[in-house]
């Protein structure tokens, strides 16, 4: 099963963010979404878990139309989805272990010692051993980010939505996280959607890359196709050269 967005429109007041977006994420692939700041990448991801609803169009995840689900069905679906928030969104009243355990506590028949074992395992995956008892406000920005990642993968979801998982991390940690994303796909068969501004990392982890521009997918293709693309706007983005984009428009 996959994720499918069909002709999705979404506006905030006068700000028409998604304008007829069509996007398909295939089963078991990792898809990266790139695009300028404010293009609506986070908005797309929020549609996939039903945090936002489209003004029109359909969002179909795992064969279910997200905007038609009631609270119970939506919660059912959300157990299969892990969401890494752009700003981590850790619960600041809980320590790191409790944060990571939150999703696990909603799983049927998981006992406390199993939960805590899984928490340690996930924290180890993101290089955060020993931070169990600390509070989010006591961690560095990068650590908070990784804790958010640990919380999302804890329940072994079928889908993982990563909103800029490596922004603000040091280069070595970026590689650790990149490898983790690849591992989630290869070992657990996770279908992944990654929003990233890090082109090198997108090349390493993605099966396909799409570029969002003016509310639609401007270009999409495998890593090789994207690397070779002649689209001036895409090139300007990949190479960080605004003058190319000006020529395009």
């Amino acid at each position: 099963m996959s994720i499918l967005l069909k002709d999705v429109h979404r506006a905030f007041g006068q700000n028409h963010v998604l304008r007829g977006l069509d996007l398909e994420v295939l089963d078991g692939e990792t898809l990266s979404i790139i695009g300028f700041s404010g293009a609506g990448k986070s908005v797309i991801l929020k549609h996939m878990v039903g945090l936002l609803r489209p003004d029109s169009g359909d969002v179909i995840v795992d064969g279910r139309n997200v905007s038609e689900l009631d609270v119970g069905e939506l919660n059912e679906l959300r157990r299969d989805i892990g969401y890494v928030f752009q700003f981590a969104a850790l619960f600041d009243s809980m320590n790191i272990a409790e944060n990571v355990a939150m999703g696990l506590r909603r799983m049927p028949d998981m006992y406390d010692d199993e939960i805590m074992a899984r928490v340690s395992e996930c924290l180890a995956l993101v290089d955060l051993e020993g931070t169990e008892d600390r509070y989010p406000s006591e961690l560095s920005g990068g650590m908070v980010k990784r804790a958010g990642l640990a919380r999302a993968i804890a329940t072994k979801p079928k889908y993982l939505l990563y909103d800029e998982p490596t922004t603000g991390l040091d280069p070595v940690t970026v590689t650790v996280i990149d490898r983790l994303i690849v591992r989630m796909k290869e070992e657990l068969g996770v279908t992944g959607v990654v929003i990233t501004h890090d082109i090198a990392s997108a090349y390493r982890i993605s099966d396909r890359i799409v570029m969002l521009h003016e509310g639609r997918i401007r270009t999409s293709g495998t890593v090789d196709v994207i690397k070779e693309s002649r689209d001036p706007l895409l090139r300007s983005f990949l190479e960080g050269r605004p003058e190319l984009a000006e020529r395009a428009s």
Binding site: V71, N75, F85, A89, F91, D92
Partner: protein, 260 residues
């Protein structure tokens, strides 16, 4: 629209649309919270913590207010009752006004500040930092997790705090009568019992329940719909305090009309 000035018609129109929209949001939140009552496994474990933070933590301020109110009531009563009126009526006046009116309303207003602001600020911070979204993605109904335990704690604990405060107020009124007014205990108690009916306590408890419901729901409402950053949270907290204080006074009058 010509220029920057809205015509009065437009202004009234927008104002009405916004009011209706708020009512809609409030209705949505209420039905959602009622539905969320089913998810005991989510709100149950959080109820006790909330009862402590709404109730136990409010006791000092409530007692502080009650002590001074009790003293002032006794002095005020003796100042009013001069000449032929018997002094034991001081006991009646302290008891009656403390239990039925001043205990509930003064404590309610103090808790509207304390509980209302902290509820709106906590929930509002969670909203603007996407923690409420995070709850949803982890398959928690935020209404069950945040709203239900807070509102239930308000409904359960406001009466406890208010009854305690009223009792403290009556006791300090008594002490003030003995020490400052040259009354005897027998006199004070005689006055206290003269007009006391058990219904006074029921009346106070009903009021307190409704105050607890209002303060916590209003706090949750403004927190839930907070927008923007720290500024938005501040606005939510301020509105929660102002609106719940006003509603407490309105409700107080409402119950007086309906029940007395």
């Amino acid at each position: 629209m010509n220029g920057f000035v809205l015509t009065p018609v437009e202004y009234v129109g927008r104002w009405s649309i916004n009011r209706v929209r708020s009512l809609g949001k409030a209705g949505y939140l209420t039905t959602g919270a009622l539905r969320a009552l089913r998810n005991v496994e989510i709100w149950g474990p959080r109820l006790l913590t909330q009862m402590v933070s709404v109730g136990v933590a409010s006791v000092p301020i409530a007692v502080f207010i009650a002590v001074f109110t009790g003293i002032v009531l006794a002095l005020q009563a003796s100042y009013t009752l001069t000449g032929a009126v018997p002094m034991y009526l001081v006991g009646s006046m302290v008891g009656k006004s403390m239990i039925t009116e001043l205990g509930p309303v003064l404590t309610g207003l103090a808790l509207a500040g304390r509980v209302g602001a902290s509820t709106a600020a906590e929930v509002g911070t969670m909203r603007v930092t996407e923690q409420i979204d995070a709850l949803e993605t982890l398959a928690y109904d935020p209404l069950a997790y945040l709203v239900v335990p807070r509102v239930l704690a308000g409904v359960l604990m406001f009466p406890v705090v208010i009854v305690l405060a009223s009792a403290v107020g009556v006791l300090t009124g008594w002490a003030a009568s003995l020490t400052l007014l040259d009354m005897s205990s027998a006199e004070f108690v005689r006055g206290l019992r003269l007009f006391f009916v058990p219904f006074d306590v029921q009346f106070a408890v009903i009021k307190s329940l409704s105050f607890g419901l209002i303060v916590t729901s209003v706090g949750c409402f403004y927190g839930f719909h907070a927008k923007g950053g720290a500024g938005g949270v501040g606005v939510a907290a301020t509105r929660a305090v102002v609106v719940s204080s006003v509603l407490i006074l309105v409700l107080d009058a409402f119950w007086a009309v309906v029940l007395l």
